[in-house]
């Protein structure tokens, strides 16, 4: 019964890391740059939050499936096949949680006082140094809140994951899918235990992360 838990944590941590890197970079970029199609790009990045997970799952199958537009070449050139693997679950979870980090990061970067960065620049700091030592720490709380939400979303991801990674016990069966599987099989006792387990883990994550956020101030 603990296998789905470890798998879920592994998938959620990696998905949060992936979505974190992309979301922070995109949030920073979108907060600072204005270009034609800016609003369109913003809508596109927010899309995974409003689309049904099954639609995302279908997009993923069409893109990274064995005969997908990208998947075909991943398979031919590198022998990589994401369908029915936990790596596929990571991709699904990071896409659904990306908007949460991106939105939080963008708002945090926009709220930061631009004069700080300007001051650093006049003192001769490079762009990367400004980002790492001024902008990112100033946006720290917002980004951290985004990461926390993304982690929670990644832990609970179901629809897109089921479509791309399937329901393979021990391989891709995460907690949410294990609950679904137990209910489908009429195995109520197991469903109940899994439900209690996931609730406890989520409570733990929420309490710990809010402590971390508080102590930072």
């Amino acid at each position: 019964m603990l296998t789905p838990l470890w798998l879920t944590l592994k998938v959620a941590v990696l998905a949060t890391a992936l979505a974190g890197l992309a979301g922070i970079a995109l949030g920073w970029w979108m907060a600072r740059k204005r270009f034609p199609g800016h609003a369109l790009a913003d809508a596109f990045l927010m899309l995974p939050m409003v689309l049904p997970p099954t639609v995302l799952g279908y997009y993923l199958i069409v893109v990274v499936g064995r005969n997908g537009v990208l998947g075909r070449y991943l398979d031919q050139w590198f022998g990589i096949n994401l369908m029915f693997t936990w790596q596929g679950a990571v991709i699904a979870a990071s896409i659904v949680s990306l908007p949460l980090i991106y939105k939080a990061a963008r708002a945090a970067f926009e709220d930061a006082d631009p004069r700080m960065a300007l001051a650093a620049r006049t003192l001769g700091a490079g762009e990367l140094e400004i980002f790492l030592r001024i902008s990112l720490p100033l946006a720290g709380r917002g980004v951290a809140a985004g990461l926390m939400l993304a982690f929670a979303r990644a832990m609970g991801e179901f629809g897109a994951t089921l479509m791309i990674a399937g329901n393979l016990p021990g391989k891709t069966q995460t907690l949410s899918i294990a609950v679904y599987d137990a209910v489908q099989a009429g195995n109520d006792a197991q469903a109940l235990w899994l439900t209690l387990l996931i609730s406890a883990v989520c409570m733990f994550v929420l309490v710990v992360s809010s402590r971390l956020l508080q102590s930072r101030h």
């Binding site: 199958i61 064995r66 029915f84 399937g166 329901n167 016990p169 599987d181 489908q184 099989a185 009429g186």
Partner: protein, 258 residues
């Protein structure tokens, strides 16, 4: 101001009218029959439903298609189902043990066979179960054995052939036989176990490699649910499925007579 208040009021009125209409329509449809049927019956039962409604003016049949296991779990939880048709005897036996079936209504109405299919683009076609242990078949799909009958039939056949360990790391489990069919049709797996009637639906994307011998024959039982409020209509529907007309439709979709 009047404009301001009238908007929510109109909205409320529209909503209320809509809700009344919904409530009314659901009482009107109370005579509708709900049939939970195995996923492999999807196309055949939709055709039977249409014929049944045509033969019985005023009757309305609603179908709930899924793997037999989840359908049983729903009925056990008190889902308002009138008729249950499963793709194996074991699921129906569990329903009988749980006293969910109306007495004297259970009957077998169709037979099917288990086949191995491969994507139509596949270079190699296996000839027997032993071939599936070869290097060309890294991913083989079937239903989740605990809840999907096709998975159970598959495991029995594989065990009898002594291939349980050899094939164990290759399984990709689908939620229903139709998902297995979809995995093969998309080329996501190298082979899959489905019923012959399912394979006939996607002749362009998947081809039948061979018929897999099953230890238990693939037979479909149907029964009325004891808690049904439409007991007469439920019996009538079962009678229609077993009638000459019903059997003719089932045969058209590739099922054989029990």
């Amino acid at each position: 101001m009047p404009l301001h208040t009238s908007v929510p009021r109109t909205l409320a009125r529209t909503l209320a009218t809509g809700l009344c209409a919904l409530a009314l329509s659901s009482t009107l449809h109370a005579q509708a029959l709900t049939v939970s049927a195995a996923a492999s019956l999807t196309n055949a039962f939709q055709a039977i439903g249409q014929a049944f409604e045509k033969a019985n003016p005023g009757a309305k049949v609603t179908f709930n298609f899924a793997a037999s296991g989840p359908l049983l779990a729903q009925i056990q939880q008190g889902a308002p189902v009138d008729v249950f048709a499963s793709a194996d005897q074991e699921t129906m036996n569990r329903a009988a043990t749980a006293k969910l079936l109306a007495d004297g209504t259970r009957a077998d109405f169709a037979h099917n066979t288990l086949v191995v299919i491969v994507p139509s683009t596949a270079a190699k076609t296996p000839q027997a179960l032993q071939d599936l242990a070869g290097a060309d078949f890294k991913r083989i799909a079937t239903g989740t054995p605990a809840t999907v009958p096709v998975g159970r039939y598959t495991m029995e056949a594989v065990q009898k052939a002594g291939l349980t360990d050899a094939l164990q790391p290759r399984w990709i489990f689908g939620e229903s036989v139709r998902q297995v069919l979809n995995y093969v049709a998309r080329g996501e797996v190298d082979a899959g176990f489905v019923y012959r009637t399912d394979a006939l639906i996607e002749p362009e994307k998947a081809r039948i490699a061979f018929t897999a011998p099953t230890t238990t024959p693939v037979s479909y039982p149907i029964a009325a649910i004891a808690a049904s409020k439409n007991a007469d209509a439920a019996r009538q529907f079962i009678g229609f499925v077993r009638s000459a007309q019903g059997q003719e439709i089932l045969e058209k979709f590739g099922f054989s007579r029990p």
